[in-house]
């Protein structure tokens, strides 16, 4: 049974129709405006704004606890916000009548700790969401899942369980799992932070391939060399605000904000 709302919400949901069709690819695919977020008394985001265009790669860097993860989790509505607005392809993420399924179909997310399903093989991990959530045809999904595992260079690991794979391999399965939902935007939250230095590279190569193919990517990362190489735009967050941003060349060499300069001098 295929629910048409699952395949194209823009055509069926009247609440979304005007805004979703009003969006055109020359407008920002993700627009974050003056977002505020608190956990109890702790204000984690104090008015963050940023824009991402289709096909762009945006890196968010900044010290620990500055709210990077919180910001990126707001984009696919894993956390709610207290003020401001976030739109994805013109659709307000924090609207009351949000079709979460439609949103999360568009936005894939990869976590620092991989979070693969331990009781399923690599292939099953990749196939699960398209079959169970999108109710797509099993054999078609399987073909696509195998192709995705090939793409992340994991041919031959289809039948391995997550516990039998290295961290880098698990993370690439997690990337393939997200891609299986055919997202328009990928969110990466410090996806190499839990990896050995040797395996970091294989994951970065995978992300680089994706970026080159035109996938819109928002990455939180501590890999400055990588950010410099692939980012179109870099944002630096500190204590809940964006203190500096710009294309890599200007950002790394001509940062004007003292906090950014101090952070960069510690890392580079």
């Amino acid at each position: 049974m295929t629910d048409p709302a699952l395949t194209d919400p823009a055509l069926t949901d009247p609440a979304l129709t005007d805004r979703a069709t009003a969006w055109t690819p020359d407008q920002p695919i993700v627009a974050i405006k003056d977002v505020h977020k608190s956990f109890g008394d702790l204000e984690v985001l104090k008015g963050v704004s940023l824009e991402v265009r289709k096909g762009e790669v945006v890196c968010i860097i900044g010290p620990s606890g500055s709210g990077k993860s919180t910001l990126i989790r707001c984009i696919n509505a894993l956390t709610d916000i207290q003020g401001g607005s976030i739109t994805v392809e013109g659709q307000e993420v924090h609207a009351k009548n949000l079709d979460k399924l439609a949103l999360r179909k568009k936005v894939g997310m990869v976590f620092q700790q991989y979070n693969l399903f331990p009781h399923k093989t690599a292939l099953q991990n990749v196939m699960m969401a398209p079959i169970k959530v999108l109710k797509e045809d099993r054999s078609e999904v399987e073909g696509r899942a195998r192709a995705l595992l090939r793409k992340v260079r994991l041919e031959g690991k289809e039948d391995s369980y997550p516990g039998e794979l290295s961290g880098g391999q698990q993370q690439r399965v997690a990337i393939a799992r997200s891609l299986a939902m055919r997202p328009d935007i990928m969110l990466f939250d410090e996806v190499t932070a839990a990896l050995d230095p040797e395996t970091v590279k294989e994951v970065l190569v995978t992300i680089k391939d994706l970026a080159r193919e035109g996938m819109t990517c928002i990455l939180v990362t501590h890999e400055m060399g990588f950010a410099r190489e692939i980012a179109d735009h870099i944002y630096f967050t500190d204590r809940g605000v964006i203190v500096e941003h710009g294309p890599p060349a200007t950002f790394f060499d001509q940062a004007s904000d003292p906090r950014t300069r101090e952070f960069l001098s510690q890392i580079l």
């Binding site: 696919n76 894993l78 979460k100 399924l101 999360r104 179909k105 936005v107 894939g108 997310m109 976590f111 700790q113 979070n115 693969l116 399903f117 331990p118 009781h119 699960m128 969401a129 169970k132 959530v133 999108l134 516990g163 997690a174 799992r177 997200s178 939902m181």
Partner: protein, 294 residues
């Protein structure tokens, strides 16, 4: 420093700072799985020894009459096993089935997003988990009619059925806690990953979280089966014809000689132990296996 001494300490002090020695528990840990841990910790040779020493102990006690006691037991063994012990096993299987199904439902209600349902199921769980089993048995015995009328047909409810229901109540409550605990033990990151892949809460629970829990739930579930089996003699108080009831009747038929007590009750004890021992060993093996992986 060396001049100071603590009462009861002979060695010269090497420090005048207080030192906290690590605290060690001896013996099996006193947790939920205590019973099976204790049973399983008996080496198989003990079982053989117990079997051999039990008649010997009776011998040492009595002198005349003990041989007759065991002879009497030998006559009754087929009856006691087929009419008595098998009935205990049957009661335990029925109670476990009912208790497991009801406990699963109650446990899922405990993690429901509906606060009223969550509260109510929590209350029911705590109530039946902490009530003495015998009290539950008597409440069921007295609260249920001895027959019910369906479409003009009088259907009697035998005491053993009430016993099954009475015993399944604490099992239900404990399975409910096992389910709740197992679901909570799955890291929240799994829920998040599923959510980011558009799974709904129900889909996540049934397709991602519960399948991961099954392995974790099996050892405590088997533990409760062992406890339940050991508790089935409680039913003799309801007049159910299980092994203890039948042993008493058999002893009566043998004129209630005191020499009969040790052979007959000892036989029941050995039967229960022999039945639960392999279950306990398997439970502990599974627990070790599953606690490593996953």
């Amino acid at each position: 420093m060396a001049s100071r001494r603590f009462p009861g300490v002979d060695a010269p002090l090497r420090t005048d700072l207080p030192v906290l020695k690590p605290y060690r528990l001896s013996g099996p840990v006193h947790d939920e799985m205590y019973l099976v841990r204790w049973i399983a910790s008996a080496p198989p040779i003990y079982l053989a020894l117990a079997l051999a020493l039990w008649p010997a102990a009776a011998w040492a006690q009595g002198g005349y009459g003990v041989v007759d006691g065991f002879e009497a037991l030998a006559r009754w063994v087929p009856f006691l096993v087929t009419e008595g012990f098998l009935f205990n096993v049957l009661i335990s299987l029925f109670s476990m089935t009912i208790g497991t199904v009801a406990g699963l439902a109650l446990g899922l209600a405990q993690i429901s997003r509906n606060a009223a349902l969550r509260g109510a199921s929590w209350f029911v769980t705590q109530l039946f988990r902490n009530a003495p089993w015998l009290v539950l048995l008597f409440i069921v015995l007295l609260a249920f009619p001895f027959e019910i009328e369906i479409f003009g047909l009088l259907i009697p409810i035998p005491a053993w059925m009430k016993a099954v229901i009475g015993l399944s109540l604490p099992i239900m409550a404990n399975i409910s806690e096992i389910v709740r605990g197992a679901v909570n033990s799955v890291p929240s990151a799994q829920w998040e990953a599923a959510e980011s892949l558009s799974f709904t809460r129900t889909q996540t629970l049934w397709q991602i979280v519960l399948p991961q829990c099954v392995k974790r739930m099996i050892p405590p579930w088997m533990n409760w089966y062992a406890i339940l089996t050991m508790a089935t003699p409680l039913c003799s108080l309801l007049g159910v014809g299980e092994i203890i009831t039948l042993s008493r009747q058999a002893m009566e038929a043998e004129n209630n000689q005191p020499e009969l007590l040790l052979p007959f009750y000892g036989f029941a004890l050995v039967l229960f132990f022999a039945y639960c021992y392999p279950i306990a060993r398997l439970t502990i093996r599974l627990e070790r296996r599953y606690s490593v992986k996953l």
